[in-house]
Every structure is written in C-alpha cells, then in structure tokens.
Symmetry: C2
C-alpha cells in the first residue's frame, strides 16, 4: 500500500516516571503504553518496537489483500504472525509469516500465483520499503493452502 497523503494525528499522555504508564489514542487506536522491563519500566503496555512491527505488518497485509483482489484470488482466510528482533550488531530484522487459505478446488496455477503475491506485496508495501531504506531486514515466509477457511 502506498501512503495516504492526508494528515494523521494521535494523542499520547504519560503519567509518572520511567515506571509510570501512558496511553496512545487516535480515532481508531487506543492502547496502553509502557516502558519495557528491560529499560526499568513495567512492561504493561505496548512499546515503540511492537508498534513499528504492527505498522509493517498492517502495511504488508493490506498490500497483499489489494493484490489478491486485483488477481481475483479471494482468500478464504488470511492470518499472519510477524516478529521483530535486533541482532547484537544492532540490525533490526522483521519476519512476516502469512498463511493464506484459498477456497477448496482452487486450480494449481492460482495457487502458484498466490505464492508470488507474497513477494509482490513485500516489494510494494510502503512502510516496509521505508524501513528497508533505514537498514531493516524484512523476510517473508509465506504459506498457501486450499481449504474451507474455517478458523
């Protein structure tokens, strides 16, 4: 997904010192934030690295959904686990693991097209591309299967 040019804003409030807690809020986001325990905080809330991963994950997912629609590949189910870690050398690495279930009876060529869609989504996702420019490594470990799609 490319970036929307409209203005987006959020409000952040913090109470207390390092062991305190805050909230981050916008029209559609409302989450407690807390400093991770590794930095002397309570850890009882989301934090910058997790939100950065959430941004990259949402971007990849939405780009993928747009491409699947354009390629007439209706997902019966789409779920993804994403993780981020930082190497001792300070390199941030993210991995997205999308699991795409296409309807029972989807022809083989469509299954293969769906697999290639993961790479296309990675190439087109604007947040991912921004992070890569800053040296973040992003890996995609996708899986396509056919099934009923029940959760």
């Amino acid at each position: 997904m490319n970036m929307d040019q409209s203005k987006t804003s959020i409000s952040t409030v913090w109470n207390g010192d390092r062991s305190g807690q805050g909230t981050i809020e916008s029209g559609s986001l409302n989450a407690p934030i807390a400093i991770p325990q590794a930095f002397g905080g309570t850890g009882a809330g989301t934090e910058p690295k997790e939100l950065l991963l959430a941004s990259a994950s949402a971007c990849f997912t939405m780009t993928l959904v747009g491409l699947l629609e354009a390629r007439k590949l209706p997902a019966a189910r789409l779920a993804m686990n994403s993780e981020v870690s930082i190497s001792p050398e300070g390199i941030m690495k993210m991995i997205h693991r999308p699991e795409l279930v296409l309807p029972d009876g989807t022809p083989d060529e469509s299954m293969q097209l769906a697999e290639r869609t993961f790479e296309a989504a990675d190439r087109q996702c604007s947040v991912g591309n921004l992070l890569k420019k800053a040296g973040v490594e992003i890996g995609i470990e996708g899986r396509v299967s056919a099934g009923a799609g029940a959760l």
Copy 2:
C-alpha cells in the same frame, strides 16, 4: 529509548477483500485495522501510517520520560499531540508537540533544562533516528509550563 533486543511478535488476521477488516494483536496491543477510504477501504480501523506515527510518538515520549527522571525534573503532567503528513513529493514529515507541566514553583533554570530535554529526547529516540535515516523529517514543537498539573 534504545531498542530492546528481545523478540517481539504480533498476530494479524484479515477477513474479506479490500473493503474487509482485520485485527492486529499482541500481548498489549489489540486494534482493528482497515484500509483507508482513500484506497477503497472502510477506514474503520487503524492503518500503517498511524501505527508508524504511534511508534515514533511512544518512543519520543518514553525517551523524554527517562531523561526527565535522570535530570530530576518530575512532570506534573505530560501530554503530546503528534501528526504525520506526506508532501506531494513523497517526503514524510512528523511533528511531535509535547506539553510538559512542571510543578508550581519550579526554578527558572529547571524550566530551561526541561526545554532542552525535548531536543535531547529527539536525538536519542531510536525509532525517530531509524525513520530519519529513511528520509523522514521529524520536528519538535515543545512547550514547558509550571502549574498544578490537573488534567
């Protein structure tokens, strides 16, 4: 705040096509996500750009909180509005507007020290520095006052 080296993971689920909706979830984050209306979605959820801003905002806030504690400047209140926009040339610009209230009777030199803390927090925030490396512009428009700190 520097980055914690532990692994962080989140789960993302999506239902439907471009006009569908999803959720993004971790231990402490649980938010609906939706494709913005500008891209043919419902707009009824948070999206990548907002989450990216939330990450930068949380990082700046937590870094600031740590510095205020180290400098013995207890905040009576800390609130911040952050916004992000993208220029027609594609340059992403974020502005953080922290409003810091120090206790009544805080000496002038402490007030000035607190003002300088905004710039120090900007220089030390890891997510902000990562985004700057990718060409994002970040501006700080902070305000320090003294008062009772009631919301």
